[in-house]
Symmetry: D2
């Protein structure tokens, strides 16, 4: 499939949204050469933001990861994570002394605590005393015992009706070049199917993720229109369809989930059509 150079594409936009995994980084670390992309964008005065379906770590920690690898320009305020949508959701909820139970690491509970909520890991919940539990959050696939705590979550939600949120819509994620792992969104799907209930999900391709980033872009570029923003992603079903629907222009890059060999067939069979296809988001110096 014929691709366009990322430089020739991105220069026409007033702001850029980047997906993280498969675009800026992969299992081995930063994608080589991507540092120069940010130098280019800064030289042109084009602001950029990183949109990630990651609720396992705080924006500060996510930003630190880039800082440590020399991408000093990716500061906390550049990061928009699905965990932040969960946080926004809970910010408007009364901190009435009751707690949000969760599946995830203590780190992932950061988002709830920042929103002023008390939290309790599912392992510490007493199913015979649910008076003080008011809602539930699927946050991260680590930090709990799958053999026990998935069943316990199911029974908690059968015993008491409560609002349930899923802070990451992804069903799996890559752990190295060859292997993947079930993501918390996949476990939430399993629980939802068994209960026959409907959870509230946050993350791409949902409009709220793009709205969060758009609101931030409008602070940097007043009156910027949606089609003046380029969404750059490696996944048709999250980055590209979500960006298209929100009215952004979209660039599919072939450095992650979608491979050069099958990009064309995936676009045709899915009917999800990016505005551009580029080899990667790398701009050579």
């Amino acid at each position: 499939m014929r691709t366009k150079s990322f430089r020739s594409v991105v220069k026409n936009y007033r702001a850029v949204f980047f997906d993280a995994f498969g675009v800026l980084k992969n299992h081995s670390g930063l994608i080589e050469g991507v540092g120069n992309t940010f130098k280019y964008l800064e030289s042109k005065g084009i602001p950029y933001y990183v949109l990630t379906n990651d609720s396992s770590r705080s924006p500060q920690e996510l930003s630190n990861w880039y800082q440590k690898r020399g991408l000093t320009s990716i500061t906390t305020d550049k990061i928009l994570s699905s965990g932040m949508l969960a946080m926004e959701f809970f910010k408007t909820k009364l901190a009435n002394g009751k707690a949000v139970a969760y599946l995830g690491t203590k780190d992932s509970a950061h988002y709830l605590e920042t929103a002023g909520q008390k939290t309790v890991p599912i392992s510490d919940v007493d199913l015979n005393d649910l008076e003080h539990i008011k809602s539930f959050a699927f946050l991260d696939d680590e930090g709990f015992d799958w053999n026990k705590d998935i069943d316990k979550t199911i029974n908690l939600l059968r015993h008491k009706n409560m609002t349930v949120i899923v802070a990451n819509t992804d069903i799996n994620y890559p752990v190295n070049k060859n292997d993947i792992s079930v993501a918390i969104g996949g476990l939430a799907d399993l629980v939802e199917q068994i209960l026959g209930k409907k959870f509230i999900r946050f993350g791409k391709p949902d409009a709220q993720m793009f709205l969060l980033a758009y609101e931030r872009a409008m602070m940097d570029v007043p009156n910027i229109k949606r089609n003046e923003i380029l969404m750059v992603g490696d996944t048709l079903y999250t980055d590209i369809i979500g960006g298209n629907k929100f009215g952004l222009d979209t660039a599919l890059v072939l450095s992650g989930n979608t491979l050069p060999d099958n990009a064309n067939i995936k676009i045709i069979s899915s009917g999800i059509i990016p505005t551009y296809v580029c080899d990667s988001a790398v701009i050579e110096p």
Copy 2:
């Protein structure tokens, strides 16, 4: 199930979003007494908006329906329809001489034409000459021959890869007290399943519908926060879960889709929990 009076609930909010069918109107016309609700809201200076998954008629026509029945305060600017999201989507697309093919009435094509697009009903498309067709829209379940035009749509979308939008997520709608009809969203589901493709859908419970209304509310009540708005609806799976997720407070009314007899069991089995349950949106004088 114990319900709250709508007056006692609504008076605490700075703006109100109403679903139309099952809340303001039903198969027989306006729901009796609802006119007084609007008098009350105006006396209190609480602005209101109607959010409807209707792409069959223009906001002007939708507003006319209320005007004719004496609800003169429901002007065109109070109406937010899923068709308007489709229109917004196409506004950013180049009017490059190519046309949007559609399933629906000529009236429903209004939304596309307002966005500056040429339109062509599927019946007029020549499958052997698709050069000038650039995208497709599911608009209304009327205005075409189901025996021929559904198959023709499928074959059009097999022959040429293009962006497809669905301007109404509903799969059916009531036609009288006892009967329902397949909605255009249901036909789009059928086509999507057969093609294995992914269309872009507009309407509640999607965040973009609430965002459209929220942006309008902010023009009337600057700096209004999401939880200062009450979403009033009769359907858990569209109005209530969508409102909850967007951060609005929500009132389920029992005058439509959800009946007093099974409201409680539906809330428990779905896990979708409204902030309030009210008998109806009627406020007695």
Copy 3:
């Protein structure tokens, strides 16, 4: 992908099951050369049967189609159709004066009538007098007005709870080299989704279709074991997975639904693995 000659494969089996469309025939008629395959099988004394998800015509009519094209050996008793499973189902039901309503042609109602049932096309049903209707059958995608009769079916099934059968699991079928049409199984899916009900479906890949053929094969080859039978089909999701599950050996042919170019990727991505892959079911003289 490397394929085996059909002759070298089929000679090791004691009976053969053929899918019809894409294996023996296509949109233009009989697949060229397939007549010789039957001569070969007869010379070797290997009995064969045709398994088809077709409920639009009787076995007699299906057989006639082959007879007219010179395949005189494909007699009525060689044909096993999903319509016959529907017929078997209704044979055990009391002919209690009540009728089975249906979507389809008069021809397709043959299966119900042979089972001793009174039938009534949906267009003749009076929704205000359902006393004499006892069940419903989806038979064929032709013979009715889609604009009216799909909605009427939905409302019939909302007004009166009854057993519903679908006599063809396929959701679409080819009408010529380039185009497909929605099959009755696709319309049944639409109605099922709107009603939230669960219909009884007949046809491949379901075990009952293979059982029907297996029982007939056992009359011709007493004590034949399942893995002594070869199922020949062009579709992984019906012929091959169904045959595999029933314990038959399976041969995927590339003359229909699955193309030489993507057979390998379809097998890998679906995880449905045929015992053999052959170019076609044709055996040269």
Copy 4:
């Protein structure tokens, strides 16, 4: 809802198929009084069989459970489990020195070993040396580390294309009066969704489970017809729809999954209609 006495129903049949959980036993043990049902059936010379979606234990062990509780008539040959279908499936496969990898306990691997297959638990599989692994079986939800072995299963099936069977279609099962646990069928659903592949599933409501029992009944009652057999179950979506489709008469009992309070609404909303509804399968002496 009005129910019939089980005695008045069952006396008209020539054989009976019982579901196990919710019909003969529950979380506390045998359902009280069910022993007398078997005395009654024996006095009338009506043979009976137990059909269970259980692949965690061998028929011998399943039978022992009843024997220990005094139901001496439930011998191994009365038990038909979904694990036996998996066994039948593997019996026809060459024991070519390669192994079937599995998720489950050592006990659950019994079914594969009886079929002459080498087995290896997923924990012992070396993902870098898959030469000797030829297929995969989901057998039981116990006997492995969910945190590690579900991901390992996913990566095994990504690295090597192979036939995958699921020996129990159930997605959950009750562990006590209040709580449920994810069943191996639920975990298989999760893996299937992540891989986008299609597994071979065994168990009710699939026809093969009923066929296995029917073949056994025919040995005891030669020429018995399907509608001379009563299927007794507590679950509409497995026992009743499967029995109905296979041509059996069906009795829904209200001693398990379907409660007296909501039996009627479940029947109406699902459209799955049992021939009879009985309080339980208990026949008073």
